[in-house]
Amino acid sequence: MDAFLAAVRLVFDPYVLWVITASAAFGMFVGAMPGLTATMATALLVPVTFFMEPVPALGAIVAATAMAIFAGDIPAALLRIPGTPASAAYTDESYAMSKKGQLDLNLGVNLVFSVMGGLIGVAILILCAPALAEVAINFSSFEYFWLALLGLTCAVFMTTDMPLKGVTSLLLGLAINCIGIDPAAGYPRFTFGGVELLQGISFIPAMIGMFALSELLRGMVSIDARGAMIAQQIGNIFTGVFDVFKRYWFNFLRGSTIGVLIGALPGAGADIAAWISFAVSKRFSKQPEKFGTGHVEGIVDATSANNSAVGAAWIPALVFGIPGDSITAIVIGVLYMKGMNPGPTVFLQNPQFIYAVFIIFILANLLMLPLGWAAIKGGKQLLRVPRNILLPVILIFCVVGSYAMTNSAYGIIIMLVMGLIGWLMEQHGFPIAPAILGLVLGEMLEQNFMTSMIKADGAFIMFFERPIAAALGVTTLLIWSAMLWRSVKGKPTSLSGVAPVP
């Protein structure tokens, strides 16, 4: 209880509240701009939050990402372009609704169900994380090794139709992570005598490169592409939303549940949650023929799902230090920078920070209602911000942000190199998320792997001797064999089989 009160004091500080509101507005803007994603909003925020205390820093990220995932729905309805990939699943449906003259209802449903879905995600986070942390406190290196491997496995399994390219991407991320001092013996690897490579590949500039720079490069070459803005005026968006809720409350619950599950699984986040819940909604709908004609049902499912995934993704991140999606991958980097190594011990040593994150999550979702309303009202003006001014400004911001992480050109070099790698991978159909997870989890995986190997000293049965380790290990191996089996038989393996890979 003391910790809870301490958390309340930490959050309800004028400075922290100001940071949350400002980041929320920033997230709303970035999310609504096509081509700028929620992950990018996070990556751009990190250089700024680097200089803050832990609570405002986490608050900024929580608020910005929650808003950005909702804000992606606005250009989907107005322009038929998703603002973030998480809205891509129902962009056509949203736009079809707008064209039918239901623009107000569509935006209202998106906003209200985003808020409610987000709150469900937070509720599960609050219920599950501390309980899981109590289990996790007894974990040894064997459990953590399997957990990290399972997380990476899920990342491959969830994010791609082509397991081969996912695995390659993952191994590449892990290999890049080997640069620098090795975590077990302290020997400098692949540094080529350089001093700067000793610290390894700085994580934040690498993220800015892979998520922001590569995205900007794609934006630069397609800068003339524009959607046609819908002509209809925006009226009262809340009319009729309650009727939709009465009719589709079950879809809301189902969408939120799917969102929570997929968000909590490592490697897949809001975008996959939206695709899957939309597909589920269509399959079990009583009127599947209406899908594609501007039908609200699937939107209820998917817009609830992507927002509930945002909160749920923090569960594995806080409890095990394994990111639930690419946003929490960045969050884990931030936690390490702040000296709060994610894992069950944070719940014991700094419970006030955990409670503060919970409170900020609730606040951010409530704040979404007024801010989202404002963003919808100003949506048409917002979307007229010229991209030929926006992109160069973000680019220089990336440069300065990467520089600020290392206080040297080294950060910018990493950003450029990783940006080009990310861009090349994307061009060749290699998913980026597994590489990022490899980069984040590499050290944890190697450290626990080496510790376990040394403990076991050749007796591999020790990897399966403890009950939880055995369960995790068997699950991991089963997923690998399923992937191998299916790829030999040439069938699509991943759940995202429903999602067309862009």
Binding site: P47, L164, I223, P392, L395, H428, M453
Partner: protein
């Protein structure tokens, strides 16, 4: 640009082979079976397997008529290709000269060039470049105390 998977696979195999070769110089610790070279070697072996399968698939699609290298539509248009190369060139220029020239002149050049190339009207480009540069300088250098290079303006700032 999109190279055939066979090329991607070959690149991966070469890189992994180099990585494994480099681990040969890593020290072994007496009485310790597993040293710093173990993990990179496992990864390298995995990457070589992936590279080999990629090459296999790539060669199969090559036989089916896929080209070695496919040029993406945007890269055929001189305008978007230049945009792409311009960004890379400006970033490289920034990395090499910002320390001597300083952040403010470099950012002005960076923003001004991109604005004009992307067709922003000259006076708007000038005003926005100035405002953007000063805003970022104020935010990072004054507020967050990031030591952005002063360069030529060292005596004034």
């Amino acid at each position: 640009m999109r190279a055939n998977d066979a090329i991607a696979g070959l690149v991966l195999i070469v890189l992994s082979a180099v990585m494994i070769a480099l681990t040969a110089s890593f020290p072994e610790f007496p009485g310790q079976k597993y040293g710093p070279s173990l993990f990179p070697r496992i990864l390298g072996a995995g990457l070589i397997v992936c590279g080999a399968v990629l090459m296999w698939n790539g060669l199969a699609s090559r036989r089916a008529g896929a080209p070695w290298v496919e040029i993406a539509p945007w890269a055929r248009q001189p305008r978007s290709l230049t945009s792409f190369l311009l960004v890379i060139a400006l970033l490289l220029l920034y990395i090499f000269v910002a320390e001597t020239v300083g952040f403010i002149p470099m950012a002005l050049l960076f923003l001004g060039t991109l604005f004009l190339w992307l067709g922003v009207r000259p006076w708007i480009a000038a005003v926005t470049a100035f405002a953007g540069t000063l805003l970022i300088y104020w935010f990072f250098a004054s507020l967050l105390r990031v030591p952005l290079p002063r360069g030529w303006l060292n005596s004034i700032l």
